[in-house]
Symmetry: C2
Subunit: 105 residues, 2 copies
């Protein structure tokens, strides 16, 4: 298989495609074309199980998060280095992360 | 099993017990009683395999890292919240992390 080059979201796409993501608790990062979200779980086991789920999918997509973890907290920032900004891959990975987190609610 | 309360390193223990850890590339964090180290791997697979190894051991010890990852990079900070500073658990977890990273050299 091969991975296509990521394409930055166009000005027309941005409001339409970002709206559902922002409504799920993601926020636009200041001074950077990126989105972030903080997740809080019950404990480290859940946080790392979440991270493992996201990691396997990220590797499969060839698109990886920037993330910080301490105990039950995971802070994720998504952006696409290939196109220096947000691409559909970030939206897809955001969806995967929210889906994964949903298993622990 | 049960986990004993962590004890902060004493002033006598610090230079002796920290020396080997510092010689392995760990550094003292400024304005905080903590140590940190940056690891760089070949790719995300290796970085996350490293994190998984550390995570399983951290959970077993009941002592967890603060860490940041992006692609092949993992930055770890260790400190012990129970005793508001460095304890022998941090030194032990630093040893485990270095051992894990050694598998990828």
């Amino acid at each position: 298989y091969f991975i296509l080059q990521a394409t930055k979201l166009s000005e027309e796409q941005r409001p339409v495609l970002l709206a559902p993501v922002l409504s799920r608790g993601w926020a636009i990062v200041e001074n950077r074309d990126a989105i972030f979200k903080n997740y809080k779980f019950e404990n480290f086991q859940q946080a790392f199980a979440f991270m493992s789920y996201v990691a396997l999918n990220a590797e499969k997509m060839g698109h990886h998060p920037e993330w910080f973890n301490v105990y039950n907290r995971v802070d994720i920032t998504l952006t696409t280095h290939d196109c220096s900004g947000l691409s559909d891959r970030d939206l897809q990975l955001a969806g995967i992360a929210d889906e994964a987190a949903g298993h622990f609610v």
